[in-house]
């Protein structure tokens, strides 16, 4: 049987030669993310902003009309209302801003909308998040992402050298910021699931980075006479096949969630698809490229004998 080869064997690409171009690319997407965050901000969902969300399905599949629904709900004077199709033509997502007054009025608004559209639509989902909870979730989200970054940094610091930990964490921050930026640029709803996607992406990206770093560490000991530049390139090339294969299997799974997982999960999957792609990119072009700016110790000579079998030693 002829096996599938995504990456040719014994590749010898000079990844680091294009590191300037890669940095430029990172710079551009990071700036775009920041610009968009300043101009567009994030399209916070009710999880963070508070408010009301209803998912409706038309009882009469053929005559469902978004404008009709819009008109109907506008009679409630509920302030800012957004209505969009959700997955299917008969399904709608209605978002209503948080109402003036206390909690009771918020809750009452749900009942008002429900009784207004009861005749023509079934309510598939209804959510209300009070402003207090929204603010708490925002804080908790920032806290969780920071906690993840810090604990990862400390772990890598212990297992590798501090230079690795800094390079890895900068690569991770790069991934997190551009994923947030993507949500801002595409104006996708930023909600609890997005935080989950960002953290999972961070987990995936760090996994990728650690695999390459692991090889860098090994090669630093093995090829003591070679330059760091050579060693970094070689490490990327040696792990390239694994990097690509794992990205492909993960992306396969994610695209399947995107297409078949239903409307609720599609944004979630999209965030992670981006995250896997950018995470793979950053492991090679951000994390390893950053290592070139440090002069990492290649370890003591004594290690040589124990780590590398005789026939593999080059010097």
């Amino acid at each position: 049987m002829k096996l599938l080869r995504l990456v040719p064997n014994n590749t010898n690409f000079d990844f680091l030669r294009i590191k300037v171009i890669a940095f430029l690319f990172s710079f551009i997407i990071l700036s775009a993310s920041f610009m968009s965050l300043i101009v567009n901000n994030l399209n916070y969902g009710i999880d963070f902003n508070g408010g009301i969300l209803l998912e409706l399905r038309s009882k009469k599949p053929n005559s469902s009309n978004i404008n009709q629904l819009r008109e109907k709900i506008s009679t409630l004077n509920a302030g800012e209302v957004s209505i969009q199709n959700f997955g299917k033509e008969t399904d709608f997502l209605v978002r209503i801003q948080k109402q003036e007054g206390d909690q009771k009025e918020q809750i009452a608004m749900i009942e008002k909308v429900k009784s207004l559209i009861e005749k023509d639509y079934t309510v598939r989902r209804s959510e209300f998040v009070g402003p207090v909870v929204g603010d708490e979730l925002k804080t908790a989200g920032i806290y969780a992402v920071s906690l993840a970054l810090i604990s990862i940094m400390i772990y890598i610091w212990f297992r590798f050298e501090w230079q690795f930990s800094i390079a890895a964490i900068l690569a991770l921050i790069h991934d997190v910021l551009t994923t947030v930026g993507l949500f801002s640029i595409l104006k996708l709803e930023f909600n609890l699931a997005t935080i989950a996607a960002i953290l999972t992406t961070a987990g995936y990206s760090i996994n990728d980075t650690v695999v390459i770093f692991d090889r860098v560490r090994e090669n630093l000991r093995r090829y003591k006479s070679k330059t760091h530049y050579f060693i970094y390139n070689k490490s990327i090339n040696e792990t390239l096949s694994r990097t690509v294969i794992t990205s492909v299997t993960t992306l396969l799974a994610l695209f399947i969630i995107f297409f078949f997982g239903g409307a609720v999960l599609s944004d979630f999957a999209l965030a992670m698809i981006w995250g896997v792609i950018i995470g793979t990119f950053s492991s090679i072009f951000v994390a390893v490229s950053l290592l070139t700016y440090f002069n990492i110790n290649k370890g003591e000579k004594v290690d040589d004998r124990t780590n590398v079998p005789e026939y593999e030693r080059e010097n």
Binding site: E55, S126, F128, V133, A148, G203, N207, V210, G261, Y311
Partner: protein
């Protein structure tokens, strides 16, 4: 070779069998079908509310109201203690949650302080010259919050149980919050209404000479009296004696009924003690009106015709549903604090079913896609990786059932994602074996070295991912927590399957005489 020991094989087979036993019930749809498999050890995985449909409510007890009430009762305790000890005082009042008064006469400050501390030693008492300031300490507030919440959860549970909702879950969260989960109930409006009433019921005498007709918004209450609104008619006021004749705690039972005019009403029965008290007061006040006060509003104010003992009726302009609900909340007792709804999420059964089927399709397609890809990439080794992948999924399902975790839609996404990421450990191992083999080692050495080297990478890489999942767990509520749990379990099981199961199969295969190294060559 050490790895081929019998013990290892037995352990692998045992773990897979246990996994299958625990995972099996999940593949039968209804719980009835599961019952016919009751020889199996496990239960099904709990489905989250987003999959089975249901409602989630996050309630907060308004503790400020409770603190104010308790401070009020501290104030009256202080008043009666000072009187009893014959200590003069003036300007005894509460402002900004602080009780203050000035002493009159020559009593020593120390004596007054010790009298106040005899009430509760945790109170904070400050005094400047003749003025005293008393407020609750954090300790006081914590104690009050604790006992209030314990009681509140009990009452919330009773009220929800009375509605006949299936398997509700009621838990405290943080200091002053309650999470209510109601599987299968997609419209929680009745529950919300029931929990929206504290249902503090009191019977109090009305003022003998000031009638509703004499009162408007600006009327002031004479000492010892309080002006209260009518429940159904906010423009009508009553002047009510502050002293409570009988309160809701003395109710034994309440049920919806109809009065003589055939309009819906609630009949109640008082406890022996309550009946005695009620009888005494009503006996003395025939001809006067008394008010039935619910949550600070007057429901009705009938005139006492005869002495009433233990049974009576509450009439007002009620609907049948209202009398049902009123009877229910009276029976279950008053909430010690008003409840505010902070968050509400309800999912209808239709969406839940759609989500389950979308999740199933995504899982099956995901599994097939990854398996086909692995087979195409690694040939025979791909088959090994696929065996490990299937074991991995069995383990994930089994562990989720064992710890009775809650599977949510993001959780299903977590499983599908794990399928993609789980093969990573195998990929790392195979790539390493290939490398070792192509650098001139013989096949057995290459396999040995490949595993040995790959494992340290696998552990480093997975532990860092685990940190991200742990952060997610600490942050998450509901669905997100479910996602992080599946992710964590997936990381652990994929490490186990790669390091133990794949290794065993590969070693077993490499010992065969017709071992074909074609899959390893460049």
């Amino acid at each position: 070779m050490k790895s081929l020991s019998k013990i290892r094989l037995i352990l692998i087979i045992a773990s897979v069998i246990i996994g299958i036993l625990y995972a099996t019930p999940n593949f039968f749809y209804t719980s009835k079908q599961v019952q016919s498999f009751n020889f199996l050890p496990g239960k099904k995985i709990n489905l989250g509310l987003d999959l089975q449909g249901g409602s989630y409510l996050l309630l907060k007890a308004d503790m400020n109201v409770v603190f104010a009430e308790k401070l009020d009762s501290v104030l009256s305790d202080i008043r009666s203690l000072l009187r009893k000890s014959k200590i003069g005082y003036k300007k005894l009042s509460i402002q900004n949650d602080i009780i203050s008064f000035q002493k009159r006469g020559a009593s020593s400050n120390e004596k007054i302080r010790s009298i106040i501390f005899s009430l509760d030693k945790n109170l904070i008492v400050e005094n400047k010259l003749d003025s005293f300031f008393i407020r609750f300490s954090e300790q006081n507030k914590n104690n009050i919050t604790k006992s209030t919440m314990a009681q509140a959860i009990e009452i919330v549970r009773r009220r929800i149980d009375e509605t006949g909702t299936n398997e509700p879950s009621i838990q405290q969260q943080g200091d002053d919050r309650i999470i209510v989960q109601l599987p299968g109930l997609d419209d929680p409006s009745r529950i919300k209404k029931l929990l929206g009433k504290t249902a503090k019921l009191t019977f109090q005498l009305a003022h003998p000479s000031i009638f509703p007709e004499d009162l408007d918004e600006d009327s002031k209450a004479p000492p010892g009296f309080i002006k209260l609104q009518e429940d159904k008619n906010p423009d009508r006021f009553y002047m009510i004696n502050k002293r409570v004749m009988v309160s809701g705690e003395m109710l034994k039972d309440a049920s919806p009924t109809f009065d003589r005019n055939n309009s819906p009403s609630v009949s109640f029965q008082l406890s022996a003690l309550g009946g005695k008290k009620f009888g005494r007061v009503t006996g003395k006040n025939i001809g006067r009106a008394f008010a039935i006060v619910l949550d600070g509003k007057v429901v009705s104010a009938p005139v006492i015709q005869t002495q009433i003992f233990s049974t009576g009726q509450i009439t007002g302009s009620f609907t049948v549903q209202e009398t049902n609900d009123l009877a229910l909340v009276l029976r279950s007792g008053a909430l010690p604090a008003p409840m505010v709804i902070l968050e509400e999420r309800s999912v209808g059964p239709g969406l839940g079913k759609d989500s389950i089927s979308a999740g199933k399709i995504a899982s099956i397609f995901g599994l097939i896609a990854v398996m086909v890809f692995m087979l195409l990439t690694y040939g025979m080794f791909g088959i090994f990786a696929n065996i490990a992948l299937v074991c991995n999924i069995i383990f994930i399902i089994a562990l989720l059932s064992m710890i009775q975790a809650t599977l949510t839609l993001p959780g299903i996404a977590g499983i599908v994602l794990t399928m993609g990421m789980a093969v990573d450990a195998n990929v790392l191992i195979f790539e390493r074996i290939k490398e070792e083999f192509n650098s001139g080692r013989n096949i057995l050495d290459a396999i040995e070295a490949g595993f040995q080297r790959a494992i340290s990478t696998i552990i480093d890489a997975n532990l860092t991912t685990l940190f991200a999942a742990l952060a997610l767990f600490s942050f998450g509520s509901g669905p997100i927590k479910g996602f992080s749990v599946t992710l964590m379990i997936g990381i652990v099981t994929s490490m186990f399957t790669a390091i133990v199961i794949t290794k065993y199969i590969v070693f077993l295969y490499s010992k065969k005489k017709d071992f074909n190294s074609v899959y390893l060559q460049d």
